[in-house]
Each structure stands twice: as C-alpha cells, then as structure tokens.
C-alpha cells in the first residue's frame, strides 16, 4: 500500500473542515449576497468545544447530573461576554 493510500481521507475532523471553509477558501467579492468572513473562529472553537462536551455528558448520563443545552447556552453566553 502506498503512503498516500494509508493516509488519504484519514485524520480529518469536523473542526478541520470548518476551520478551512469558514476561514480560508477564496472569496471573490462583488455582488455577494452573503459573506461570512466575519465568523469569529474563537467563537467557533467554543461552539465545537461545547458540542463535544455535550456529547461527553450525554454518554455519561446516569453517572452524573445531566446538563441541559439551555444551561450550556447560558454558559456560552457568559463565556462570550467574558471574552469580548
């Protein structure tokens, strides 16, 4: 098996994809309806983090108190406020 075959399409996480398609990639400006160049990656990191923590909590349910997504949203808002 070539090196390429053993690596191709592996080691790719969603965060890798989001990182490049939101931040990189070409934007040819002009009559664009929407440009999401403004998406803040720090904020995005936080979201992905929260999503992964939520999954973790869900998988451990029973062992500890469940944290609802409302609570997470509240915490996120606080964090965002603090990071502004």
């Amino acid at each position: 098996m070539s090196n390429r075959e053993s690596v191709e399409n592996k080691n790719i996480a969603l965060i890798d994809i989001l990182d490049v398609i939101l931040d990189k990639g070409v934007a040819i400006k002009g009559d664009l309806v929407i440009s999401i160049a403004g998406v803040d990656l720090v904020y995005l990191d936080l979201r992905v983090l929260i999503a992964s923590v939520e999954t973790l909590v869900a998988s451990q349910s029973g062992n500890r108190k469940e944290i609802s997504s409302e609570e997470f949203d509240k915490q996120r808002e606080e964090l965002m406020y603090a990071s502004q």
């Binding site: 996480a13 989001l18 990639g25 070409v26 040819i28 002009g30 309806v33």
Partner: protein
C-alpha cells in the same frame, strides 16, 4: 423572486470539456448542482431558494444551529473533494452566494486574469496538512536524561536536607518545563524545514487546544503544504521516517489530505 446562486468552486473550462461535471444534489438537497461556463473558467454552482437562504437566515443558522452548520459544511467540502479528484479547483469559502447568475458572471469576468493565474499555480498540486502532537512526559524523560546539567543537579539535590530538596526540586522542574518548550519549538521548526523542501508553498497555522482537538496530547505544530502531485509520496515517506526516528521521544505526526487548495488558492 428568482433563485440565488451558490458557488462551490471554479475549474478550468478546458478540463471540464474533457470530462463534464457529474451532477450532484445541491446544498438544499433538492436542486441539482450544475456548471456554468464563463470563458476559460467554469463555475460549479447550485440554485437556492432566496427566502430560505437569505443572509439573515444563514447567519441565524450558522450561529444557532450547529447541526445545520455541520451538515452543510460537510456537503460543501465533499463537493469540492469530488471535484478535486478530476479537476484543478479553486475552492470558494463556505456560503459564497450571489444574487443571480449575472452578478456571479460579472464578478468572475472582472477577476478572470487572477483566476486563470491561480489555475496555473494549482495545476497538478495537492494541499496537505500536518499536525504534530507531543507526549510531554516522554519528551521530558528523554530531555532530563540527555541534559547533563539536569542529571548533576538531581544528584546535588539528593544530598540536600529534605526541606531544601523540596524547593530545589521545584526549581528544577520549572527549568525542565522551560527546556521542554524550547525543545518542542526547535524540533518542530526543524521538521518544517525538512518538509518545506518537498513543497511549492507552505504556511504555519495556530495550534489548537486539547479542548478543540479532543486529543490526549497538546498540539505542538500545525502547518499546510502545497505539493506537486508527483512529490506527495516522498513527502509522506519523510513523515513516516520522522515518525520512526522520533516516536520514542513522544512525538506523534498526523498528516491529512489531499485537501482542496483552501490555503493556496489566493486571489491576491
């Protein structure tokens, strides 16, 4: 109201003429994606309902609907990956949407030269990412064995009264931590230098925290290389060699690719 045009990416018309784009389901999972020829440039696009995909509604979804973002981001990326297998591709940013075909045509026509230059620059190349992780405890062990100063310092400390030993050990640990960081930085730079030789272009990115990667070890390096297709095997072989050389000291390498040239298709 007429449909909006979602632009995935641009490919050279001459390549598209040799093999036309296989239609696939567009971003809304209903209408088929298709290609639009604009001189030497072919745009791969799909139509979107202008109400459902207005700026406000997309922004709302990006900010509040992680599931939507994940699904559509994967769709955008997969569409470009499939194109990349057959054509030279300039990948667009996620959600590059024009009001109508005419406005997209005009924008592309105005940038024709830059786009065709970029095709030349990207032809027969691939983008590859490398992330380096380090098991600090293994590297620390190696460093304290390698550094004679630290070994003799340890010896000295062991002869001190217990109270002093505690403080001196703490000082030594701090010294070791500092040395660890310096070593990590310089090793990663050396690795980057070795890999740069295979690349046409390269860029160093920020490291991500463990919270984001979900990995056990800290990320020490994150870089991207644009590599000629016929040198990719050599590049990956070099990473394999480095893994063999350095694994025992705690270094872990993660190469991923080939990516659409997100970092190198730049319209300067």
């Amino acid at each position: 109201m007429s449909d909006l045009i979602y632009l995935y990416g641009l490919i050279p018309t001459e390549e598209e003429k040799r093999e036309s784009v296989i239609p696939f389901k567009g971003l809304d999972e209903q209408k088929e994606a298709y290609s639009v020829q604009i001189g030497k440039i072919t745009a791969v696009v799909c139509n979107l309902d202008s109400k459902e995909y207005s700026e406000a509604s997309i922004e709302e979804k990006i900010n509040n609907n992680m599931e939507w973002l994940q699904e559509k981001a994967l769709h955008h990326h997969n569409a470009l990956l499939n194109l990349k297998q057959k054509y030279t591709v300039i990948p667009m940013k996620f959600c590059t949407i024009y009001k109508n075909e005419n406005s997209m045509r005009k924008t592309i026509e105005n940038n024709q030269e830059k786009i065709t230059d970029s095709f030349l620059h990207l032809a027969e190349t691939e983008e590859w990412n490398l992330k380096i992780y380090c098991d600090d405890s293994l590297l620390k062990k190696y460093l304290s064995g390698r550094n004679l100063n630290i070994a003799s310092k340890k010896e000295e400390i062991s002869k001190l009264p217990p109270g002093r030993q505690f403080f001196e050990k703490r000082k030594l640990d701090q010294l070791l931590d500092k040395e660890l960081e310096t070593e990590k930085g310089s090793v990663c730079e050396q690795i980057h230098d070795r890999l740069k030789q295979f690349s046409l272009n390269h860029t160093v990115k920020n490291n991500w925290s463990k919270d984001v990667t979900g990995k056990k070890y800290d990320m020490s390096w994150n870089s991207v290389y644009l590599i000629a297709v016929d040198r990719v095997e050599e590049y990956l072989e070099e990473i394999n060699n480095m893994t063999k050389e350095m694994e025992e000291y705690g270094w872990k390498f993660e190469a991923s690719g080939p990516w659409p040239a997100y970092h190198f298709a730049i319209m300067a």
